[in-house]
Amino acid sequence: MNASTATATSPLRPPGSAWPSRAPLLLLLAVALAVPLFVRSATYLHILILLLLYAYLTTSWNLVGGFAGVLPLGHAAFVGIGAYTSTVLSLQYGVSPWVGMIVGGFLSTLVGVLIGLPTFKMRGAYFALATIAFAEGLRVMVENIDRLGPFLLNGPRGLQIPPLELGFGRFMFAEKEPYYYIILAMLVLAVGITWAVSRSKLGYCLAAGGEEPEAAQSLGINVARVKLVAMAISSFLTSLAGTFWAQFTLYIHPKSVMSLDISFEIAFIALIGGRGSIAGPLLGALLLRPVSDFSRIHFGDTLPGLHLVIFGGVLILVMLYQPRGLQEPLTRLYRRALARSAGMRERG
């Protein structure tokens, strides 16, 4: 390839065009880093931590649900595996939750691949069904198991983590700020991975396989295999959030870490925000988490489930009018504003 072909990319991608598209994300990061300096209320910080947690979960989900073009509806299973693995290891064997987090991650990867193995070769509906059934099946089992071999699971009563030893090594803090920064760091990591995947061969193959599997196969892509890779990464990352959740709340039980509602909320946030895009999950969490917290706080007693009606309604409207999620019109607006300001600068 000669030099002229290399420069031929320039008319297609104006130099520096990557920067403005990254600018909002970086701005968001700067704001996120500064937030605990201003928000001193533990309640609001708690809500923000949950927002970041869901942004993280959705970003992890997006790797398979967005890029691979399938619909996983049982990611709570990985949250549960992560939470239980690290908690059991730390309670019974004194293993640092950080180590347990990684162990849980690999366990989830294994499970994710096992679910994907038979289902990725079939129509997407099977995969969606399999993930739901697996997650629910796992929850039912954990609810029934007090003891799994040497491991104490405590059935439906769940596990409490006594806050005996605080500190980073034990993943346990008296204040909320450390949790805030940990989940923020995890989110940055997940977004970074997503970004890298979207610009890699894997990302291209996933997108192609998700959109037109036959065409993708004819171009040398083993579609089922790349989906498995995506599933592996996604289930690993999702599992880490389970450990975070356990250490943050210090109490886990099957309904809190494995409920179908978690799986669906993740999927809804991704779909409304815009699946398959990097900003979509972040945007979705930013828009929807406050709705659900607000409605739970103010209408929790009088109108239970109101936020879910809103979620469902918003989801249908978004699918009808913006099937690629809300990130698309916003990105377009942003680009237009950018172009206009650039035009003004040229004229001025």
């Binding site: 390839m1 291209y204 036959e214 171009l219």
Partner: protein, 241 residues
């Protein structure tokens, strides 16, 4: 050198014998056309060669290796590219993205893949549409994109399934020129085509499929004169096209 050999290939679906004992050899550098009335089994035969499904019986040999029953992605890596009769672009993506997916078959680096994809686009005169969404392309460009994408995988053999269908006469001429140019770069073609003018002008040899059976094979002029072919097929269509 023989690039592709089909040896008594049959494909049955339940009781339907879509292709029956079909044999053919394609030499490296050749353009071989496959014609026949609708439902003659042409696409089925293509799908057998491209690995969509294995033939019921018979052998397919590519570059001296048995390939029947191999998966499409393996065949692509071995050097067989294909297009689809009903085009299947990655519609939500740009033209460049579409072709880059193909280019990733030969490299793992995005920059390199994009450069190669752009080169292919230039070859097919699609470079000015590189940033357009594939969904917004007109039909002629969609067909070109289909070829570009397959071409980006650097195939030795390209299977074209009706890439001229739906094109205007001038566009057909352009496509014929494109295929000739590509053949000069060393690519072998095996193509299904309904537009007689194009297939007659392009092909070195033509095989005729009728109800799953090969009823004739030869140079375009011989095929045009062949009684059985005329009866089965050309009589009704040749003049029209």
């Amino acid at each position: 050198m023989t690039l592709l050999e089909l040896h008594r290939v049959s494909k049955h679906f339940g009781g339907i014998r879509a292709v029956e004992e079909f044999s053919l050899e394609v030499q490296a550098g050749e353009i071989v056309g496959l014609i026949g009335p609708n439902g003659a089994g042409k696409s089925t035969l293509f799908n057998c060669v491209a690995g969509v499904f294995p033939p019921t019986s018979g052998e397919i040999v590519f570059q001296g290796r048995r390939i029947d029953g191999r998966k499409p992605w393996d065949l692509c890596r071995m050097g067989i590219g294909r297009t689809f009769q009903i085009v299947k672009p990655f519609a939500s993506r740009t033209v460049l993205y579409n072709v880059t997916v193909g280019a990733f078959a030969v490299t793992s680096r995005l920059g390199e893949a994009e450069r190669w994809a752009l080169e292919v686009l230039r070859l097919l005169r699609l470079e000015d549409k590189a940033d357009m969404r594939a969904a917004n392309l007109a039909i002629a460009d969609r067909k070109r994109l289909e070829i570009a994408r397959a071409l980006a995988t650097r195939p030795r053999l390209l299977l074209l399934d009706e890439v001229m269908a739906g094109l205007r006469p001038t566009e057909v001429d352009e496509m014929v020129a494109v295929i000739r140019r590509l053949r000069e770069s060393g690519i072998t073609f095996f193509l299904i085509e309904h537009i007689m003018r194009a297939v007659m002008a392009l092909s070195d040899r033509i095989a005729v499929l009728h109800f799953g059976h090969k009823i004739a094979e030869g140079a375009p002029q011989e095929i045009a004169r062949d009684e059985r072919v005329i009866k089965a097929y050309l009589g009704e269509d040749y003049g029209a096209a």
